[in-house]
Symmetry: C2
Subunit: 251 residues, 2 copies
């Protein structure tokens, strides 16, 4: 009756598996946080990991070197204007990227252009609106909104996870399968209490505080209380739940 | 890479399995909606299904008779004052009941009294605060609150799902495992679009409308718009997500 202990990587990447010999495009790799997972899970596939930021790519390259990962090439490129021929890749992976784009559909069309017929597109996105916790706290919810609102003002969408199915459908993919990947944390999962609630989610929200206060979205005292209430959910009687979504589709 | 098609029953009861020969108490069986599932999944266990309402029990008995279910006995009883000796049952199941109680801990203590040492308690509860959908709608969220608020006024808790771990822990159970059971619905799951979004969730919310309007919680027009917006999520580009929680613990 027991679940196996799961890490965040297991929850979102357990089935990020490519056929041996695949050429895979990872679009928007940043500093390689996902690259280091998927390249090692798929040692017999080759990856081209692109990002707009040269600086991020340098960090990704350094990481790959340190970890002795040899099946990836980092390359500077614009997701809206990819420097690849049509139908170059067996698979395309786009992870935590669409949420930042004002026109995710345009990016999907460009990604599909470079994907082979019958190739698979995989996309993984979070959904801040899926967050709930115990004890509940209005201030914590307001602090989370300090990331949601500015991201929306910048044309992004912190709640894009729930939209993956309609997006992939509208992009013209077939055999679409979207599934929720719930990171549910209680005291029975100590590694996620530290690793996810504290070091991942709350740290990320904490990072938007200065900007949100400067923008007048929230008072400093309220924001700090929200962060404190998020940390409160890491106590032994606390609970936290966040849902990522993962979509597969075939060109 | 594909999920198997799942019904709501699969999602919440796939692992409601008792050892052959078990005597199981189902507390708060109502009209037998869960009874008919669990008795047939466990043909070599015997069930005593209790409820406070004689009327509900009669309907449960009729249902069991129609379905030729013979391994259950229905009995009128109060969950706070059970007519059973200590340590009578191998397992106890309590499903969609704690949400209605102003003192769920008192009920858990009484259920644990009649459970044998090393016996298993299983509890399943919903969490209305886990609901999110696309397109999002403030009116739909307000309509859902028309069930949450009166239930709270009555001493219940529509968001109790997230509290199962701390509740089972405080009740003194060991080997506690709580897991989210997400009912995620998109157009790729047509049976859940009709069966869950429309006939289960929205129908349930629709049922509280008259009372909520009479109480002044919401205008009729706003409530109706909320219901319309919930129904809107059943369109081909709509998405709906609701999370039940299931907890196992050992006495």
């Amino acid at each position: 009756m027991k679940d196996q202990a799961q890490t965040l990587d297991d929850i979102i990447h357990n089935d990020t598996i490519f056929r041996d010999g695949s050429l895979v495009l990872e679009a928007g790799c940043g500093v390689g946080a996902q690259t280091k997972i998927i390249t090692r899970k798929n040692p017999h596939s080759n990856f081209i990991s692109i990002d707009l930021s040269e600086q991020s790519l340098k960090e990704g390259e350094k990481l790959a070197e340190t970890l002795k990962i040899t099946n990836v090439k980092f390359q500077q490129a614009d997701i809206f204007n990819l420097p690849f021929e049509d139908a170059t890749f067996d698979s395309v992976l786009v992870c935590f990227v669409l949420e930042h784009l004002s026109d995710p559909m345009q990016a999907l069309h460009e990604l599909l252009r470079v994907l082979k017929i019958n190739g698979t597109l995989i996309t993984i996105e979070g959904d801040h609106g899926s967050t709930f916790f115990y004890p509940d706290s209005q201030m914590a919810r307001r602090a989370i909104n300090c990331q949601v609102v500015p991201q929306k003002q910048d044309g992004g969408n912190s709640n894009i996870g729930r939209e993956l199915y309609p997006l992939l459908h509208a992009a013209g993919l077939s055999d679409i399968e979207v599934s929720p990947r719930v990171v549910y944390v209680d005291a029975g999962k100590p590694e996620l209490v530290e690793g996810f609630i504290k070091n991942t989610f709350t740290a990320m929200i904490e990072g938007v505080g200065n900007n949100a206060v400067a923008q007048g979205l929230i008072d400093r005292a309220d924001f700090d209380q929200g962060i404190k209430d998020l940390c409160r959910t890491t106590q032994p009687d606390g609970v936290f739940s966040y849902t990522f979504f993962k979509g597969f589709g075939t060109k």
